[in-house]
């Protein structure tokens, strides 16, 4: 193994190619540092690129993300490894880190791929499309999504029958099943952790019946249904294809809830739910949208006004946490809650329910470093030992944290935190006092 390792060196290793990692990389690269972004996924852009629109501006998320992403992809100081993972990072000395990486085979030469999609057409296999959160199928030879970067095909080898149809169909002949995992041994001077977050798994709240009742979806699934590159051509409930007209949002699904192990507020769910409600009112003018909430946390710039705007548009806000959801034979859902304003328990029927799932920590990150070296906070986010004056600093000198790896935050806060991490990284490399 050892002798096959490829070696290279960069100034900074950025783990995670979402919007936080991307912004940090750009700041570094624009100031002359060389950056390697290691992204686990097949495309950079993280979760933001998959969103519909962003609050409170209602900019199309893809429209504002893609230029940033292409700037990153094009930058001559930035190298991107997609489909790659960090195995181990060792700190040798100040400004001296070694990282072992693994690059999983894509079975496609991404450089040569023109994104023509002929392989996709030729592939006979259909499996659930993870980028559409399993609402629709995709081929085993596929381009992750239409605005993916790199916009190059990949083979999902687990689902592939090795029939060879794609290889025969590919005009530039870039499909290559002989690709093997490649190991890299990288030297860097500093590391930025921008590994982002995971979505709370709603299966952990059995009384909501997600998975069992098909017309309950997660907010991310709704995000996809509202996005320009949406899985259905309109908004449909996945249980029977009905155009929904009474949609409920269940806030704090897996946030502010010690009984499911996450006592922390996820900070974004109120706002994205209000945003989705506004978008739904636009897409389905006849629909009623009700948001069941505990407290509406519209705390950021322009957020409160956005919340007022939603109320003005006719979105109903009901104070009360949903206790149970059961299903009627026609697929409609019965929500039981206490209406706090009226001080009594109520049941209400909706034909589609969106669980506004929260943010939880992406725990892989602590395993990259030696045992216990990278400290995590009680909620498994990367701990910030000098949170007030140096929020990007971690327990390891020279390793900085950006974006939601250190806790829930929205896009602008992620961007600010990336700015902070990149500033610290540059001055660490330049040789700041310590």
């Amino acid at each position: 193994m050892g002798e096959k390792m490829k070696e290279a060196s960069y100034d900074v290793l950025v783990i995670g190619g979402g919007i936080a990692g991307g912004e940090a990389a750009l700041n570094l690269a624009n100031n002359g540092l060389t950056v390697l972004i290691v992204e686990k996924d097949l495309s950079v852009g993280g979760k933001m690129i998959l969103l519909s629109k962003v609050f409170p501006t209602l900019d199309c998320s893809a429209c504002i993300t893609t230029p940033k992403i292409s700037e990153i992809a094009r930058h001559r100081n930035i190298t991107i490894f997609t489909g790659s993972e960090v195995r181990k990072i060792r700190k040798k000395n100040e400004n001296d880190f070694e990282a072992d990486l693994i690059r999983h085979p894509r079975y496609v030469d991404a450089e040569k791929c023109t994104g023509c999609q002929l392989c996709e057409e030729a592939c006979p296999v259909v499996v659930p499309d993870g980028y559409q959160f399993n609402l629709v199928g995709r081929k085993a030879a596929f381009i992750p999504f239409s605005i993916a970067n790199p916009r190059a095909a990949a083979i999902d080898i687990e689902s592939c029958t090795l029939c060879g149809a794609c290889e025969k169909a590919c005009p530039p002949g870039c499909i290559d099943f002989t690709q093997e995992p490649e190991e890299y041994h990288i030297k860097v001077r500093s590391v930025i952790i921008a590994t982002g977050f995971r979505l709370f798994d709603p299966l952990l709240i059995p009384r909501y019946g997600y998975g069992l009742h098909k017309n309950i979806i997660t907010s991310m699934q709704m995000e996809r249904q509202l996005a320009p590159t949406r899985p259905f051509n309109t908004i449909l409930r996945p249980g029977d294809g009905k155009v929904p007209c009474k949609i409920a949002y269940v806030l704090c699904s897996g946030s502010r809830d010690a009984s499911v192990g996450n006592p922390v507020c996820s900070q974004i769910c109120c706002m994205y739910s209000i945003k989705q409600a506004q978008l739904l009112m636009g897409a389905l003018p006849m629909a009623d949208v009700t948001i069941y909430y505990l407290n509406i946390r519209s705390f950021g710039k322009g957020f409160e006004e956005f919340y007022e705007q939603a109320k003005g548009m006719g979105v109903s806000f009901v104070k009360g946490k949903i206790g149970k959801i059961s299903e009627n034979p026609n697929g409609d859902l019965l929500l039981r809650y206490e209406d706090i304003n009226e001080n009594r328990v109520k049941e209400k029927v909706h034909d589609m329910v969106v669980l506004s799932v929260g943010i939880v920590a992406n725990r892989d990150v602590s395993s990259f470093f030696g045992e216990g070296l990278l400290k995590l906070d009680p909620y498994n986010f990367v701990s910030q030992p000098d949170q007030l004056l140096r929020p990007a600093k971690t327990s390891i000198d020279g390793v900085f944290v950006a974006g939601t790896a250190s806790g829930p935050m929205d896009i602008p806060d992620s961007i600010l935190s990336s700015g902070s991490a990149s500033a610290e990284t540059i001055s660490y490399i330049i040789g700041r006092n310590e």
């Binding site: 700041n27 100031n31 962003v54 409170p56 501006t57 900019d59 199309c60 893809a62 429209c63 504002i64 893609t66 230029p67 940033k68 292409s70 992809a73 605005i147 790199p150 916009r151 996005a227 320009p228 590159t229 006592p263 922390v264 507020c265 900070q267 407290n295 946390r297 705390f299 950021g300 710039k301 322009g302 957020f303 006004e305 007022e308 104070k319 706090i340 304003n341 009226e342 001080n343 007030l388 004056l389 140096r390 929020p391 990007a392 806790g407 896009i411 602008p412 806060d413 961007i415 600010l416 990336s418 700015g419 902070s420 990149s422 500033a423 610290e424 540059i426 001055s427 330049i430 006092n433």
Partner: protein
């Protein structure tokens, strides 16, 4: 003249195509004779479309490109870069805004929006037809950043910039640095005190050789542009020279007969005209507040270092970039708002923080011990009637933290929180949990039915129709009412209008883009950090300070910078020198020159800002503005009509 144009019409997901018939737009503009190819695209800005454009430009040797999509404020530069990568001069690209100004603005009228979009694209085609290849103007940049505001954000930014290797001028209007944070005691989340934070920062600042700290310094003049700004700074002296003998100084302060409300304690205490903010302030030197001094000379007699002969001076600073971190003001409640100034024991949150800091064994206000404290939230924020519609973001957590602190410090205290729904976002939620577990009682009302404060037997009675208790009317007899006041933009902040920084609807300074460019402003070279951009807690302020620092750094870290070549152009044949343009120019960019014996106007390109003020005043129409020339504008008018 460009005759082989490529036109791309973007769906923008559905943002455009939901209201504008993009196929029809394509069809209409494809018929224009200069248009060689016209295409529609789902996302013009996506990498694959950009690649496609480059291929089109190269393969067909296009000489001009138009993309009809969103506002040029978002993507003009993106597509200019595309043109450049395809080997085209980037000024042979023209952007047509058919989203903000067609599909969205006229989403109520699809055919109207489509017709308008067609005209807009046609106008852009005309403009690009006459576009000339241009070279950007290169100017040298000064490798320094002026940080305006010496609070936490400003200090932190200055420190970072200095360790990035940039010369920093830290300009603080007050005589002491640290801003609001120095007024706070124990802080969430680390429990450090504000003074400790400021001490850490100040000590690090003074170790840096490339930071010039100016206190008592106010920016009074501003000129120049990115890479080379010039600031006039008026410095008010301390009227104390050298280091004072501490004993003498103490006495000098004692004898001063003047009493002024102490802003540091938000008027809870009185200070002298010669004063300290607090022991161990930075810089550690007292000040004579001349505006309140009656020149009795009593202090002078005791301490020889007091020197009334010191004079105000104005210095000039030249700098490549400016970072604005002027902070916020706490909201001041109106007289009578929740009993403020009409009821005896009503204070604001900042005053309360000072009270806790000043109390030793007991929490005392106006000589009485405090046991029951009522906090009224959202005072000056989320106003239904007033102009502050926004949420001030930090106050819920801050108040809850203080309610825990006050209980820990003094024990035997009951906290009653009159809220509008608690907003302890993120991990701050844990604090809310902690405070309720310690027995704090939370009550809630909506904006249309706020709690009421009345005085009764020397106490303040707060009543509320508590929605958490079935809208029952509940009352609390409080020894102290704390009005949880939010953040408002500083009301005496001349810097904003001096720099022409745009403000948002909330009157805080506005960034270029709320989501992805939160610290840059439309004024090239000026960044904003901390609470002057909007309410923030300490960590968020520091994050924005560091982000602004890295952006400012990238403006000045390279020796040279490119500027838009949009400058005025004189037709020397037509010009017969009347001087009207010179007097119209606000930047002194036009001077008289001799052209083979004939006096003509000449433009200084590095000073000209391209505003165009000289254009209409020319009696012989001898001036054009590059990229806004007569033939460009007139052909656009023709296409739009």
């Amino acid at each position: 003249m460009n005759n082989k144009l490529g036109v791309y019409i973007c769906h923008c997901g559905g943002n455009i195509s939901d209201y504008v018939d993009v196929a029809k737009v394509k069809q209409s503009v494809a018929a224009e004779e200069e248009v060689f190819l016209a295409k529609t695209t789902m996302f013009a800005c996506s990498d694959s479309t950009q690649k496609e454009m480059i291929e089109d430009i190269v393969a067909n040797e296009l000489d001009g490109v138009v993309v009809a999509s969103c506002s040029p404020k978002l993507h003009l530069l993106t597509f200019r870069a595309v043109a450049e990568r395809a080997g085209l001069n980037k000024y042979n690209y023209v952007h047509a805004n058919i989203r903000e100004q067609a599909s969205w603005a006229h989403s109520d009228d699809k055919s109207g929006a489509t017709a308008k979009a067609i005209n807009i694209v046609k106008a852009a085609i005309k403009k690009v037809r006459f576009a000339e290849p241009l070279t950007p103007i290169r100017i040298p940049t000064i490798n320094s950043v002026a940080v305006v505001g010496g609070g936490l954000a400003g200090m932190r930014a200055a420190l970072e910039l200095s360790s990035l290797g940039t010369r920093v001028y830290l300009i603080e209007r007050e005589h002491f640095v640290g801003g609001r944070v120095s007024q706070w005691d124990s802080l969430f989340t680390t429990g450090e005190t504000g003074k400790e934070l400021i001490t850490r920062l100040y000590n690090e600042l003074t170790e840096q050789k490339n930071i010039t700290l100016l206190t008592g310094a106010e920016v009074t003049g501003f000129s120049g542009s990115i890479g080379d700004f010039s600031l006039k700074v008026r410095i008010t002296p301390r009227y104390i020279s050298g280091k004072c003998n501490p004993g003498e100084l103490k006495k000098a302060i004692e004898v001063c007969p003047v009493g002024v409300a102490d802003d540091f304690n938000f008027g809870l205490t009185v200070r002298k005209a010669i004063y300290h903010n607090f022991p161990g302030e930075y810089p550690q030197a007292p000040v004579v507040d001349l505006s309140n001094c009656n020149r009795c000379g009593a202090c002078e007699k005791i301490c020889g270092n007091i020197d009334f002969s010191q004079k105000e001076e104005v210095i000039e600073i030249r700098t490549g970039s400016i970072l604005v971190a002027t902070g916020f003001d706490p909201y001041t409640p109106a007289d009578g708002e929740f009993g403020y100034r009409t009821c005896d024991n009503v204070v604001t949150l900042p005053q309360f923080k000072r009270l806790i800091d000043m109390g030793e064994k007991m929490l005392i206000f106006k000589g009485r011990e405090i046991r029951n404290i009522a906090y009224i939230y959202c005072v000056g924020s989320r106003q239904a009637e007033g102009e502050n519609k926004y949420c001030s973001r930090y106050c819920c957590t801050s108040t809850i933290y203080e309610s825990i602190t006050v209980k820990k410090k003094f024990g035997n205290i009951h906290n009653f929180h009159f809220t509008r729904g608690i907003r302890t976002y993120g991990k701050q939620e844990i604090l809310y949990d902690e405070s309720s577990r310690q027995g704090d009682i939370y009550l809630q009302s909506y904006e249309d039915d706020p709690p009421a404060v009345t005085g009764r037997n020397g106490k303040a009675v707060v009543t509320i129709n508590d929605i958490l208790t079935g809208k029952r009317e509940l009352e609390v007899e409080a020894d102290l009412v704390v009005l949880v006041t939010g953040m408002v933009p500083r009301n005496d902040n001349p810097v904003g209008s001096l720099f022409k920084l745009p403000k948002g609807r909330d009157r805080f300074f506005n960034e270029i883009h709320m989501k992805l460019r939160p610290v840059e402003t439309v004024i090239d070279g000026i960044t904003i950090a901390g609470a002057c951009q909007g309410p923030k807690n300490i960590m968020e302020s520091v994050n924005s300070a560091l982000s602004a620092a890295v952006k400012s750094y990238s403006y000045v870290s390279k020796a040279e910078m490119e500027l838009e070549p949009v400058v005025a152009l004189i037709d020397r044949d037509l010009c017969s020198w009347c001087g009207a343009c010179t007097s119209a120019c606000p930047f002194e960019a036009i001077r008289k020159e001799n052209e083979s014996g004939k006096p003509v106007a000449a433009i200084n390109n590095s000073v000209c800002k391209g505003c165009g003020m000289c254009l209409p005043v020319c009696p012989v129409n001898a001036i054009d503005l590059i990229t806004y020339s007569d033939r460009e504008i007139e052909s656009m008018i023709d296409a739009l009509a």
